[in-house]
Symmetry: C2
Subunit: 109 residues, 2 copies
């Protein structure tokens, strides 16, 4: 994924470096709605994403401390992802985007 | 750019299809701050973006009626981009993202 160069003078550039990219907001939106979610469930809910891309996105979001990852050594092992305390700041943004999405694109039969 | 498949049941997927992608929010953020802006000025302000990618992004945003484009037949011709009435809905999201960016990434020397 092309990265915006982190510009010291521009926190927004740094934030959009993390949040930009095709799938990121959608992953956060699913975690916001469903709460902690297994990798397989996340993959099923995002049409068109590959396991490789989803894994990379989740690792990047985890490094940015926006999501957390729990690993349970069950057989098979179970990996769950969820929004961190820090990312609660993003919920208001996700909810506003959802309102706009509804206003612009909801089918009104 | 990989496209989320438009899912009829999911306006958010449709919206994020338009707004997702590395540069999109950043372009909107510059137009939100600067008002109508020339292509060349936009390019200068987005480190790392190529003219080809910027042109594609602007065309996609114009088709989605999120930005408008004015063409003045001066010599050389001048093309200006700005936020449409519809995209005023996004300003609150952009401002919220800027607050979060400041909170998370602003240098506090």
């Amino acid at each position: 994924m092309t990265q915006l160069k982190e510009s010291v003078s521009c926190p927004m550039g740094t934030l959009l470096n993390v949040l930009g990219g095709t799938w990121t907001f959608y992953i956060l939106w699913i975690l916001r709605n469903n709460g902690p979610t297994r990798f397989s469930a996340l993959k099923r809910q995002i049409e068109g994403i590959s396991s490789k891309v989803l894994t990379e996105k989740l690792r990047m979001l985890e490094e940015a401390e926006i999501i957390y990852r729990t690993y349970e050594p069950t057989i098979p092992p179970q990996v769950t992802y969820g929004l961190t305390e820090k990312s609660q700041d993003l919920i208001v943004v996700l909810d506003q985007l959802a309102q706009i999405a509804h206003k612009w694109y909801a089918k009104t039969d």
